[in-house]
Amino acid sequence: MSARIGAEAVAAKGWPGAHKWLLLRRLSQISIFALFLAGPLAGYWIVKGNLAYSLTLDTLHLADPYVLLQSLLAGHKPERAALIGGLTVLAFYFLAGGRVYCSWVCPVNLVTDAAAWLREKLGIRGGASISRKTRYWMLVLTLALAAATGTLAWELVNPVSMLHRGIIFGIGAAWVMVLAVFLFDLFVSHRGWCGHLCPMGAFYSAVGYFSPLRVSAARRAQCNDCMDCFAVCPEPQVIRPALKGEQQGIGPVILPGACTNCGRCIDVCSKDVFSFAPRFAHRVPEKTRDIGTPGLSRSSHS
């Protein structure tokens, strides 16, 4: 591993080149806040509401399908505006990658990225071992609670909706929850909240299970094993099969829904191994090699 994550990439591509997707992501997160805050702070009502439901320019309905699903299970059928909004958002994240929500939109990402960055700076290692599968159980729990209590029980404590609503409508004591998430990620568990516990992330990884837009280790042959992508990735377990699976006949596209399409691996790779690619590029290497020799088995390459 290089002395500092991404140092090689900075040397090879320059600082802006090695932070392109990170900067775009921050721009996306900040722009979303700016749009939501332009109304209450400056009186420009482009967008009204918050991430649970918003109305843009009095025409575009957008709603969070996760909160609507809780509402449905609690026994309430949302009306047309919310349903249209929910389906629109569902379609968008299906196409763009479910957890694009996590890395490009969610306000808590700024908090947990800051914690991960500081954790790296301070050299904090180890911590509680929490299974990454916990979040799927959390998802089951939040949905079961909605059904059992007939109310949106999770929304009473959900730090994600609490932070976004708080910034737009007044934060109150919600900062305590946000601080708790930050400290948890900093001291207790590396990428603990977004990578292990958050049921919203679990929901959106399910939404993006078959997403056509993925990150691909297309030029994996150039990999020099610097390990920077593993160090920087919030879900490093998704990289290995795509990056190192050529011998086993595994394609280069990172398929798991847990990948947030954040693009940090693209940034920190000095060899330009990674790039955004369509999902169906997964089998391209085999096909190109098979041209002209129909029936040639894959095993001949391994």
Binding site: Y53, W137, L145, T151, L152, G170, A174
Partner: protein
């Protein structure tokens, strides 16, 4: 399968089951705590009033997604979203009558703005809203009960003469004046809270309370004789039954 690989598979299976049990138990513990919290969160303080058209509290908490659209479209900044430290379910809209009452907009923008139907769109006439019920809670301090002509709650009421009327009563203290007693009529009161806001006392004598808290209910078997008589068009009991007089026995 060889003995070694079978043993390895068995160990892996055991590890998997142990890990899953650990995760499920931790999550279930959290769930139990959150479940109790959610149950408690259904109790709204009596001073917190939901917007017009809000469904019954339990249904409302399942239908409201905390988007704040009603708050944004309220032209008088009456509505606000509950902060997590407040006693109202976090993120849900409410108002406090004594601070800012509902101005009862004719077009009911808050209900129109609601995307989920937590505020029921069947409410199209704001006079039919039942956000709560005004109750003249304290007769000991209400100025009209003292024989003064304050009348502020009566005059501020958007349904003047309907939701609150002034009922004349003999003033026994002076012996020659009239008390004008404010009386709230639940068939008209919308619970807007303008009376509570306007009450001139340090602490309002008239308060808007949740209907379930404010309203009594007759036993279902109960019949009021004079109403039955009106309905039947004649007395239900034909002749007055003359019961024997039972006078208390004279004490020595």
């Amino acid at each position: 399968m060889t003995t070694e690989s079978r043993q390895a598979a068995s160990a892996a299976r055991r590890q998997f089951l142990a890990d899953t049990a650990k995760t499920v138990c931790s999550v279930a513990l959290l769930g139990a705590a959150l479940g109790f919290h959610a149950k408690k969160a259904r109790a709204v303080p009596a001073t917190a009033i939901r917007p017009p058209g809000a469904r019954a509290e339990k249904d409302f908490l399942g239908a409201c997604i905390r988007c704040g659209m009603c708050v944004r479209d309220c032209p008088y900044d009456t509505l606000k979203l509950a902060l997590p430290e407040e006693d109202v379910a976090a993120g849900t809209p409410y108002f406090e009558a004594r601070k800012v009452p509902c101005e009862m907009c004719e077009d009911i923008p808050c209900v129109k703005a609601c995307p989920t139907g937590a505020l029921n769109k069947e409410l199209t006439d704001i006079n039919q809203a039942r956000m709560g019920l005004a109750v003249l809670a304290d007769q000991e301090t209400c100025l009209n009960f003292q024989g003064l002509r304050c009348d502020v709650c009566y005059r501020i009421c958007p349904l003047i003469g309907e939701a609150i009327t002034l009922e004349p009563q003999h003033n026994a203290r002076t012996g020659k004046h009239t008390l004008f007693i404010p009386v709230v009529h639940s068939e008209h009161c919308t619970g807007c809270g303008k009376c509570e806001k306007a009450c001139v006392l340090e602490q309002a004598a008239i308060k808007v309370l949740p209907i379930a808290l404010a309203k009594g209910e007759l036993g279902r078997h109960y019949r009021l004789g004079w109403k039955e008589k009106e309905r039947a068009g004649e007395a239900l009991v034909k002749d007055i039954i003359d019961l024997p007089d039972r006078l208390p026995e004279a004490k020595p």
